[in-house]
Symmetry: C2
Subunit: 208 residues, 2 copies
């Protein structure tokens, strides 16, 4: 195991970069915020990362206390990687990067990959309260845990339980929210986001 390369500066930001500053690390955290993932799934949702770099990062992250490796019970016994509480605390870092990066997003380039759950972070920024929200896009479906403390912050596919609200929106609205040109409440008011469900979260969204 290679000793970690450090900036050797007594500064907490530099220390954070010692741990998460390597290429791909924070994007792996972004993926794992969706809950436990298998190696192959991570590799599929991180186009461009090579197999050895992904394996190396996962080892480093485990050594640094960001992730754990766990064997799923049979059937389908496989290893999954998941964030520790310490790893989940990186959410504000990804939020800050995401907020700043809105202005860099622009139009989608032909070479750009997209995954539905990548829209979870900008959506989460705009949602208040607490509860499970299911989101339906043309590109796919995902769900977010608004106001969650530990555990997954969002996930791919339909909500694993009855959601407190369901949102449906088209690609244009979604990218407008992702770019910060439109907020979720605004888009709900304009009818570009359809809200269903009768939880308090759904009601709050509909009533602005």
């Amino acid at each position: 195991m290679s000793p970690r390369r450090s900036y050797d500066q007594y500064c907490s930001a530099a220390r954070a970069l010692d741990v998460v500053g390597d290429r791909w690390t924070l994007l792996i955290v972004r993926e794992l915020l969706a809950g436990p993932r298998r190696y192959t799934d991570l590799h599929a949702d991180l186009p461009g990362v090579s197999t050895d770099v992904l394996a190396s990062r996962l080892k480093d992250m485990e050594r640094d206390g960001l992730t754990t490796r766990r064997r799923l019970p049979p059937p389908g016994a496989a290893y999954v990687y998941e964030l520790t509480p310490r790893g989940s605390e990186l959410l504000p870092v990804l939020q800050a990067l995401g907020t700043w990066g809105q202005a860099e997003l622009g139009e989608r380039r032909p070479t750009d990959a997209v995954r539905a759950h990548w829209f979870a972070l900008p959506l989460l920024r705009d949602l208040e309260g607490e509860g499970l929200v299911e989101v339906r896009l043309e590109e796919g479906e995902f769900h977010v845990y608004v106001g969650a403390e530990g555990g997954p912050v969002y996930g791919d596919g339909p909500a694993p339980a009855e959601p407190d609200a369901r949102l449906a929106l088209d690609t244009g609205t979604c990218t407008a929210v992702a770019r910060g040109e439109s907020s979720v409440p605004d888009a709900v008011r304009d009818g570009r986001i359809t809200v269903t469900g009768d939880g308090t979260l759904a009601k709050a969204l509909r009533e602005g």
Copy 2:
């Protein structure tokens, strides 16, 4: 000029990392948050960065709209690098990294470099209101602009104008604040931080 390497993901966090994810870039931003700096000063306050990497980063950052290069008027005509407003907007990213990195800070290692103004970020996190604050440490002196919008967020040396408050604290208190073990208001209450001055900021600090 080399074309920028990109993750090619339609995700604002990934886009942000396209711009600021390279080694040293965010630490250069941290330095420039202290105001305009010359190349040599940057090199001196970023121990470990090689000259070519620093020059390359500064070019990339100018191309990406994070910094500008300006010639100082004579005497002492030299080039200084300073953040654009867009570059200054990275402050929340550094704050988030710094907050997360508190837990990684630990004791100062013999190999760790220290600069007085690196303590500005944790201090700034704890200070509310608006005004100019001068901070005196054993390692040196710096000042912070609390609640500043544009321009420098902190700077080395004594305050360039009459400060609204002056703080004096020892190294132990300073590192305790940097590690998040103690807040500034707490340390003021305990007498570990001495507050002088009669601005509203100084009064608010003394009265807790």
